[in-house]
């Protein structure tokens, strides 16, 4: 009798465990779409390096356009509004992302965040090239309610958590979000609108190395000519910016960090022109260094490019 019970339990528990692991990945994979399509407003805390801020946020989607407003509730008065036109710059395709090859996804429990029931999901990297995350994901909507970014030794670098949130659209968008005219477009830029174009010569620079699993998902040219591309592995995102300088760089290559965001800036001279290569993202410094060092100009067919590191 006991043996039969054990056998039944073993048969039942195996698919449940597999299903749970799959669900953890699905929950994280859905976060992108949910965060873009859902209208919500609330209050969250954001903590880096022992400094905690309280932030009021509103995220409204209307006719495919996303209106975001962020207001700091303590410290210096800071209020920003941003308008972004849906996903037109985003070529993220979940089918091309193999996040499970590079992270381990686990549901580690249930909890309550900002008065809402949430899944606790742990996302840990399988290598030292990226960071890990602990998420609390709203059970009803799939929106991320809490995020703790942890480094390779398990130390928390950044903590983001809603303390109050409403999933309802703001009743009076005019008063809550001020006039739409006040919204600033999020970096006016031309986006590449299809995957094939990503391989074209739009971006005159080659990123020779990215951590395994990262794929390019967007690229932009700002109004001032700055080109940038972004990569994701399904969890983390990093961007590479190429800045054209009018004269020799005023400062050497540098590395900077804000919270979990690592930035590495290197200078290059190509055909007597000066460029700054900037890599930015939530990643270890060694990874950002490696990416920045691999960026090189794509030689044009008309002339050989003379590249010189001038850092």
């Amino acid at each position: 009798m006991v043996f039969r019970l054990v056998l039944v339990w073993a048969c039942l528990s195996m698919p449940i465990n597999l299903s749970a692991q799959q669900t953890a990945h699905d929950l994280v994979a859905r976060m992108h779409d949910v965060s873009r399509q859902l209208s919500y407003h609330g209050l969250f805390t954001y903590e880096i390096a022992g400094d905690q801020r309280t932030v009021k946020v509103s995220h409204q989607v209307s006719d495919g356009v996303v209106y975001e407003r962020v207001t700091y509730m303590d410290g210096p008065v800071k209020d920003r509004l941003r308008e972004s036109a849906g996903n037109h710059c985003n070529l993220r395709d979940a089918n091309h992302l193999q996040a499970q090859d590079h992270y381990r996804f686990d549901i580690i429990g249930e909890s309550r965040v900002a008065g809402r029931e949430a899944h606790r999901v742990q996302v840990l990297p399988k290598d030292d090239l990226r960071y890990g995350y602990l998420y609390a994901i709203d059970q009803q909507t799939g929106l991320m309610l809490q995020s703790i970014l942890i480094n390779q030794s398990g130390r928390s670098l950044e903590h983001f958590k809603y303390v109050d949130i409403s999933m309802e659209p703001v009743a009076d968008s005019g008063s809550a979000m001020v006039a739409l005219a006040e919204f600033e477009a999020s970096a006016p830029s031309d986006c590449v609108s299809d995957t094939q174009a990503l391989d074209a010569t739009f971006f005159k620079w080659s990123v020779g190395w990215v951590p395994p699993g990262f794929v390019q998902v967007s690229q932009k040219v700002a109004a001032d000519g700055r080109e940038s591309v972004a990569y994701t592995d399904g969890v983390a995102v990093f961007s590479v910016l190429v800045d054209v300088l009018a004269e020799s760089p005023a400062h050497p290559g540098l590395s900077a960090r804000l919270g979990a965001t690592q930035m590495v800036v290197l200078n290059q001279k190509v055909d007597n022109s000066y460029y700054r290569i900037a890599v930015s993202g939530q990643m270890p410094q060694a990874t950002a260094n490696q990416i920045a060092l691999s960026v090189s100009a794509i030689a044009s067919s008309e002339s050989d490019i003379d590249v010189e590191a001038i850092n």
Partner: protein
């Protein structure tokens, strides 16, 4: 410790550092010869040979060089083989039979391991400006704060189930492996107050935030990061 033993210990230490005089070398060789005659081994705590081994082990650990003086694993195995086997339930007998020598060996092994760990951690946290192989002007204040500053506390019900990796000495990437010709930042120049650099980094963060908002999974978090960057980068 007698005065002669103390002087001998100092001579061994000087020899490890390459600073021993002919007289000290002669004294050490004479003592080692006498120990060989008495069949002392490298694991004997008070023998000159044992001290020579331990000092070299510590020195090599600090210098991160391969241990070339002895097969440690073989020596440890032999030492373990020499130990008596004790049964459970005879705690008193075990405690009585444990010699201070074996405890001393354990303490030395532990202390050497600690020295090695501290050494690696210090290499990992060294200011990049002082690292010759990758000279960058370090602007971030977070690298220091992440190591020495207050840690962000995990919620009581939200502890990561991470297998502890106290020291990350390995990895596929090491900064020092990249032969980058980057000019060393002028230490007299205060980059923290360099408005141009701050402005550029703020722009980098804004563009990254824009990309991340569209391609990432974290909703409003990138926007909050950028807003914080407005004054955070280089402001301290």
């Amino acid at each position: 410790m007698s005065e002669s033993k103390e002087r001998l210990t100092e001579s061994i230490s000087a020899l490890v550092d390459g600073e021993a005089s002919d007289m000290e070398l002669h004294r050490i060789l004479k003592d080692v010869g006498a120990e060989q005659h008495r069949e002392y081994s490298l694991l004997d705590d008070h023998s000159s040979g044992g001290k020579w081994s331990r000092y070299n082990l510590i020195s090599n650990s600090l210098a991160e060089t391969p241990m070339g003086f002895a097969d440690i694993s073989t020596a440890v195995c032999k030492a373990v083989d020499r130990e008596e086997t004790y049964r459970t339930g005879r705690t008193g007998a075990v405690l009585n039979s444990l010699s201070f020598g074996s405890l001393g060996r354990f303490a030395i092994a532990a202390s050497v391991a600690m020295v090695a760990i501290l050494g690696v951690q210090q290499f990992n946290t060294v200011d990049p400006v002082q690292v010759n192989s990758f000279h960058v002007a370090e602007m971030g204040v977070e690298d220091i704060e992440q190591v020495k500053g207050p840690a962000i506390q995990f919620p009581a019900d939200f502890q990561p189930r991470v297998q502890a990796r106290a020291v990350n000495a390995g990895g596929t990437i090491k900064t020092s492996q990249h032969p980058v010709l980057v000019r060393l930042a002028d230490p007299d120049r205060d980059l923290f107050r360099d408005r141009q650099v701050r402005s550029f980094l703020s722009e980098v963060l804004e563009i990254h935030s824009s990309h991340e908002s569209e391609s990432g999974i974290q909703g409003m978090l990138p926007f909050a990061r950028y807003l914080d960057a407005g004054e955070g980068v280089g402001a301290e």
